[in-house]
């Protein structure tokens, strides 16, 4: 249980993000919520790849103990690569969302969801 703290942190981060997206009325806060969910998912991926006592999977002047016991002594590299991809995707989405928000503010003069809802259901 206590060793699962990273996973619980993931869940807490996803909750906080979802709370912000579902219940906050400010567009910027919604975007912050999406960013937090994304960090939670990234943390989830990284946590999946951790092997107890592992070092980075890089052989440039790696400690000889780790090389001798490889691959058991190195953390899993695939989740790190996936997280890298996911971070860049997050930056792109964030850039687009923020520029949309700037335009919405220019048009409506407010960031409150309740006031800008011009599209009918």
């Amino acid at each position: 249980m206590i060793y699962n703290i990273p996973f619980i942190a993931v869940v807490v981060m996803i909750f906080i993000g979802l709370y912000a997206v579902l219940f906050k009325r400010n567009l910027v806060k919604m975007v912050i919520g999406i960013s937090i969910i994304e960090s939670g998912v990234n943390l989830f991926l990284i946590t999946l790849g951790y092997r107890e006592g592992g070092v980075v999977p890089i052989f440039t002047s790696a400690p000889s103990e780790a090389v001798k016991n490889a691959p058991g002594s190195m953390v899993l590299p695939v989740p790190q690569a996936l997280t890298l991809t996911s971070i860049v995707i997050g930056v792109a989405v964030l850039a687009l969302m923020l520029s949309l928000i700037m335009h919405i503010y220019k048009h409506y003069g407010t960031l409150d969801v309740r006031k800008i809802r011009r599209l009918k259901e």
Binding site: V11, R51, P57, L76, L84, I89
Partner: protein, 89 residues
């Protein structure tokens, strides 16, 4: 309490249950299976000549993902420039 709030609360709690169970079922520090990663760690030096396991995956084994990632950045830049263009009214 509007309808929207109730729906949001229900969705929120269902998702919460899912994620909590997920967190309790996984174990930290001991991956269940590591076959693919072990292969990559052991073969990164003689297959691709790269010392860094992560870079090998990013640019060689899963290079196509990285192309997609570069595409996403390209799309975001194009999108931002397009959104901020001067519009003739």
């Amino acid at each position: 309490m509007s309808l929207r709030t109730i729906v949001a609360v229900v969705m929120f709690s269902v998702l919460a249950m899912f994620f909590v169970f997920t967190a309790l079922m996984l174990s930290f520090g001991a991956p269940m299976k590591t076959e693919m990663d072990d292969y990559i760690i052991m073969h990164t030096q003689n297959e691709t000549g790269t010392n860094s396991g992560v870079t090998t995956i990013v640019f060689d084994y899963r290079g196509f993902d990285t192309l997609g990632e570069a595409t996403i950045l390209f799309a975001a830049v194009s999108g931002v420039i397009m959104i901020f263009r001067r519009v003739k009214k």
